[in-house]
């Protein structure tokens, strides 16, 4: 769910404002318990999402799984309490999630990470090191396709031995090879003099 090329008015709002508003509105939604109020709010959130010209294809999978969960919740709530209660609960959740999607899909990944870093910046006084965090996050993204490749290789090799569905035979080599990759990368970083110590003691 990345705001690839969103240029709507929502994309120009500062991420901090969007995130803060989302938080406040989500808490506010819990104070409302009548569907007469929630239904217009739900329609508003849908309009908000559509007016932001988001790529609806990106929303298909998340909305599908959300709808499945909410369907179950709706039936259970209706059986346990009453219909009105179930409608209120499902409407509230849908409104909240649509607003959250609107924020996510109009904020670039970089801007979102930057916001998180700002929120977490007080941690610096507890010994967290921003350079180290940035290195960790970017390395994670870089390692994902590599580890996926390793996993598929290991699985194929074990399939050839008739062990493709044996979770142990796949996981152990995967973990060992991941640790090897980690060791090699750490050595390479050290060999190139990468120094992320916050300050010299």
């Amino acid at each position: 769910m990345i705001a690839a090329k969103n240029t709507s008015y929502l994309a120009r709002v500062k991420p901090g404002w969007k995130f803060g508003t989302l938080l406040v509105l989500s808490i506010g939604l819990y104070l409302i318990s009548s569907w007469q109020v929630l239904l217009p709010l739900f329609i508003l959130s849908a309009i908000l999402l559509l007016s932001a010209r988001v790529d609806l294809k990106q929303l298909r999978m998340p909305l599908f799984s959300l709808a499945m969960i909410l369907g179950i919740v709706f039936i259970l709530l209706a059986l346990q309490t009453d219909w009105a209660n179930a409608v209120v609960s499902v409407l509230r959740l849908l409104t909240m999630c649509l607003m959250a999607y609107a924020v996510s899909l109009t904020t670039s990944f970089d801007a979102m990470l930057e916001l998180f870093q700002q929120v977490a910046s007080p941690l610096r006084f507890l010994g967290a090191n921003p350079a180290q965090i940035a290195l960790g996050l970017s390395m994670t993204i870089r390692f994902i396709p590599e580890l996926k490749k390793v996993y598929l290789e290991v699985r194929e090799a074990q399939h050839a031995r008739g062990l493709g569905n044996n979770p142990l035979a796949v996981s152990v080599p995967l973990v060992i090879r991941s640790l090897k990759i980690a060791d090699e990368t750490a050595e390479a970083l050290d060999a190139r003099g990468y120094d992320s110590a916050p300050y010299r003691r």
Partner: protein, 193 residues
């Protein structure tokens, strides 16, 4: 030269966290394995969460889970089924995601200070399994179940009952995680020093 070793081990720790975070993420991208015994396909992501704790210890393990949570909330589609974004946090299953961080923390602490102290194989396995069950299931459900109940307004009991459907798969993952972690610890000593 204390400064030199400090920075070396810090870099190594960061790389370990990144690799395990990537492993958790990669496990969510893959088609799930279907096991013969259980008809439901299980995704391996919580296996990665358990392994991060059991192999890296409490701090690096929970950091690996935290990195996945942060990256997916920031918008990367890393969670099973290609989900990601803030909607996950505000949705009914957000608690499980937060629970991952504390799940790896608990498993890591138990492995470091309890499981790996045993020399006996059986004692190691039993204590390891107990840790994986406690951290990987009890702790994660402890966050997930009340979260679902609070967000949806369902009764706590119903929410718990709903999560029991995932219990067989999660128990199996705990068994696998324990066996894998103990095997790897045997050949890769000193991971948790």
């Amino acid at each position: 030269m204390p400064t030199r070793t400090d920075s070396t081990s810090q870099t190594r720790n960061t790389v370990y966290v990144a690799v395990f975070a990537a492993m958790i993420a990669a496990m969510g991208l893959l088609p799930p394995i279907t096991l013969g015994i259980i008809p439901v396909p299980i995704t391996l992501q919580t296996l990665g969460v358990m392994l991060a704790g059991a192999l890296l210890g409490p701090w690096r393990g929970s950091l690996a889970s935290l990195v996945v949570v942060v990256l997916s909330l920031a918008g990367l589609p890393l969670l099973a089924g290609g989900r990601g974004g803030l909607g996950v946090l505000f949705g009914p299953t957000g608690g499980y995601l937060i629970g991952w961080i504390f799940g790896s923390l608990v498993i890591g602490a138990l492995f470091k200070y309890w499981v790996l102290r045993y020399e006996n194989k059986v004692a190691r396995f039993m204590s390891g399994l107990a840790s994986a069950l406690l951290g990987g299931i009890v702790v994660i459900y402890l966050f997930g179940v009340p979260w679902t109940a609070a967000v949806t307004g369902l009764a706590l009991g119903t929410s718990l009952l709903g999560s029991l459907g995932f219990l067989p798969g999660d128990v199996l993952k705990a068994v696998v995680a324990t066996l894998v972690a103990l095997t790897v610890h045997r050949s890769y000593r000193g991971l948790m020093k």
